[in-house]
Symmetry: C2
Subunit: 487 residues, 2 copies
């Protein structure tokens, strides 16, 4: 390896990975078991872990080694590419901006938690404005360093290589197509999903996880206010909540299990290295939706799912696959993004995409956000939020400084459909096996073509192209929607 720079980088990035992993554990603890009185202490710990990781990443010795390092193997070349990308992104930002954004986000999240319930946008606005200004600054600096438009620089931080122009073109196609489908198939108030005691639902959740091949030796299930997944390849943690509408707890488990399968399938030999990480948020969401939407809302899965429900829940509630399938795929526009059906969901994302691109470009002043948001919802979904609580204050993302993140939800849905189409062509009996409760043909294909590649591919588009023969587009998703909701 010549000068040893590459080896030194591997050691440095392994330490960075450890700091990030420990920070995720502290965060997981906060959201699951941590006593509320310890929140400030844990905030200090996360700030220190993040700060030290940033210092390791931006240190002059790191820059020198990155300039000098050479890679022998293709995976090492990919690792070095990822190291350079992470270093470049971190080094571009001045420390005082990083800290100013962190302070703005910390304040805005606090204000959001206090004001969201009342929908008090006037009280929220100053904190939101501060975040938007810091993010615009960040986007400008990142963009300059990367030769990108400001919004593209934000997108790129969640889904490297993704550009706003392509996103806008795909979203325009969805915007034309989906409202017509909704008009055709909308079914009125949502029928309730499977109901049960917390203990029953948790037992069922564990049986579903086992069916998907998630091993207790490596994967935990816990409860939190909002479902999420986190952890490392060998120590994966998902959560669900049991207090939501009937059926939600289990669908959240299936969704997070898709994320968990991705993490569990990451390459063993590249643990603690950038190349061993997931290929960004679009790829990650494609894996949760491959399980939740593509596989687990299919007619095939309704068969073993109904059987499980009848085995584990009160016998009075007799689930039959055809009825279960209808419940799982019921379509009706609603104001709440996280409870939206598969057809409406992209329209919720397009609303947010419109607003956030305008906020970042400066075309929309934060003070005008509520009206712009509600207008977009009305135009796309045909319903109007009664106030900011159900409107622009619905999600925590923007107060968290996450601009450019929302699109990855829908890009992930497109990717899941495109992967599913390719997989069904390659493994024709996948649905028959799912009907028998056997996910191995499905997860085996995903592991080979997505999970085990880590960051070998430079972008999620390269990953999709490698797996399906072409970069991401809307074709497979539109065909999937047409097929599933054609009658």
């Amino acid at each position: 390896m010549g000068n040893g720079s590459y080896e030194r980088l591997e050691r440095r990035f392994a330490r960075i990975a450890d700091l990030n992993a420990a920070s995720r554990t502290v965060r997981w603890y906060s959201l699951t078991y941590g006593p509320p009185g310890g929140e400030a202490a844990r905030g200090h710990q996360q700030a220190t872990l993040g700060g030290l990781a940033h210092e390791l990443l931006t240190a002059p010795e790191c820059a020198d080694a990155l300039a000098a390092a050479r890679a022998d193997e293709p995976w090492q070349a990919a690792n070095l590419r990822e190291m350079r990308r992470l270093h470049g992104a971190a080094a571009a930002l001045p420390t005082d901006l990083v800290e100013a954004k962190a302070r703005a986000v910390s304040r805005a999240q606090g204000v959001w938690h206090r004001t969201q319930h009342e929908g008090d946008f006037a009280a929220f606005l100053p904190a939101l404005r501060e975040v938007v200004e810091r993010v615009r600054e960040e986007a400008g600096i990142r963009g300059e360093a990367l030769g990108l438009e400001p919004y593209d620089a934000l997108l790129d931080s969640y889904d490297p290589g993704r550009r706003g122009e392509g996103v806008a073109a795909m979203f325009a196609e969805l915007e034309v197509f989906l409202p017509g489908v909704i008009d055709r198939v909308r079914g009125g108030p949502k029928p309730p999903g499977p109901e049960g005691s917390r203990a029953d639902l948790e037992r069922l959740a564990r049986r579903l996880m086992a069916m998907l091949g998630l091993e207790e030796r490596h994967v935990r299930l816990d409860e939190s206010a909002h479902p999420f997944s986190t952890g490392e390849r060998d120590d994966v943690r998902i959560t669900t909540r049991y207090s939501g509408p009937p059926g939600e707890a289990l669908m959240a488990v299936l969704h997070e299990s898709g994320h968990a399968l991705y993490t569990r399938g990451l390459p063993e030999d590249w643990r603690r290295q950038p190349v061993g990480r997931n290929r960004g948020m679009t790829a990650h969401e494609s894996q949760s939706l491959s399980i939740e939407m593509q596989a687990c809302r299919s007619p095939a899965f309704a068969v073993p799912y109904a059987r499980l429900l009848n085995e584990e829940l009160a016998p009075a509630d007799d689930w039959e696959p055809a009825r279960l399938y209808r419940v799982l795929n019921h379509v009706e526009p609603d104001l709440v993004r996280v409870e939206a059906d598969e057809v409406s969901y992209p329209l919720h994302i397009i609303v947010r995409h419109r607003c956030e691109t305008a906020l970042i470009s400066g075309a929309l002043d934060p003070a005008d956000l509520p009206g712009a948001f509600d207008d977009a919802v009305e135009a796309l979904l045909g319903i109007r939020p009664p106030g900011p609580r159900e409107g622009c204050m619905q999600d925590i993302h923007w107060s968290g400084g996450s601009f450019g993140y929302f699109p990855t939800y829908t890009l992930g849905a497109l990717m899941a459909a495109q992967l599913a189409e390719a997989m069904r062509a390659a493994v024709p009996d996948v649905d028959r096996e799912i009907e028998r409760g056997d996910f191995r043909p499905l997860t085996g294909w995903l592991r080979e073509h997505v999970h085990s590649r880590g960051c070998l591919d430079a972008s999620s588009d390269d990953l999709v192209e490698q797996a399906t023969g072409r970069p991401l587009d809307t074709g497979a998703f539109l065909r999937h929607i047409e097929a599933r909701y054609s009658g």
Copy 2:
């Protein structure tokens, strides 16, 4: 503050505190909820967090700032003294020895876990020998840097200021006194303590914690293979196990609650600073034993404890204070240290103290440990271990490289007795209040005289002297044993 060195040190040590706190959370997670398959990943994280804390502590800029810093306030002077102590101890050890010891310990703990159950000392010996050699090396280097004998340097790392000569003198007094008490009051096989389902015991445990004043907002109770306590002032975690002998789970909760009260009572204003930490392991154990031994095995506590047991456990098991008190203070020598009664316990410690001082001085070769250990047990407790499993392989401490730690258990018992004597003189109605289930007079006194001082005192002896008027001695403990077990 002149040159700003002190302020820079506060910032540096706050980061070190955060790293240590995050590491404790990762460790807690490993021992409670962490999936077993993630152990190696968590090991990497802890090594990185520990390594970075060590680097921050031993960096040249830290040494320079320590040399230049001046303190204005007494608490800052104490903080600076603790910073210098921590820096000196860390800087004395060469990195390759730190790593060699970590490897030896990691290996020995693995071997111990595999061989302890069979008592296979021959298989354990090479790993133990390696640890002993590394610890002797460490003790020599530390001792040279601090001007101390090797064993004193080890003792000092757990209980700063504590010296082997004083320990040996106190242990000699106990060794003379305790066997006679045992002969007088030994009561044959141990009567069973309160029994109940896991759910009943956990509910009871939470009521006991509430009675002691531990708030749910800041303190967690979980389950682990061995009870322990950890966390920070605002985020305290204790564990117990429900699988041990009847009664053990609740006594472990009371013991760990004593540790938790100490952590909760540490000075709020000095959080994340060395002066805000506990005053070492003797002081910490004195707090667990103030609760478990001094308060909760007293005749006064038997009254509310019996009432609680009768309220929460099966009504058939009718606990009456006098019988409960006898069960809680039953004396009979046994081979298992962690299940030993209050009178036998110090003799178990003296056995280990004899063996470990001889191992460190080189007078005892590790190969001869089993015989030396069993001889000491027989001489002091009148029973002989049937093999290494019940003998020198009983505890994990030595495979963990913890030499000089065992004495703090008994020094903590002496300190708890000495504190209790001073407290009863100052707050005469403390027992009457405990009888009513009110611990506030007790915990208030401990908070004022021990908890809230953090590391204001330079040593546990200074702390004891401040609270009781004299350094640690055996007097109060011997009077306590005499009074409790006089018949």
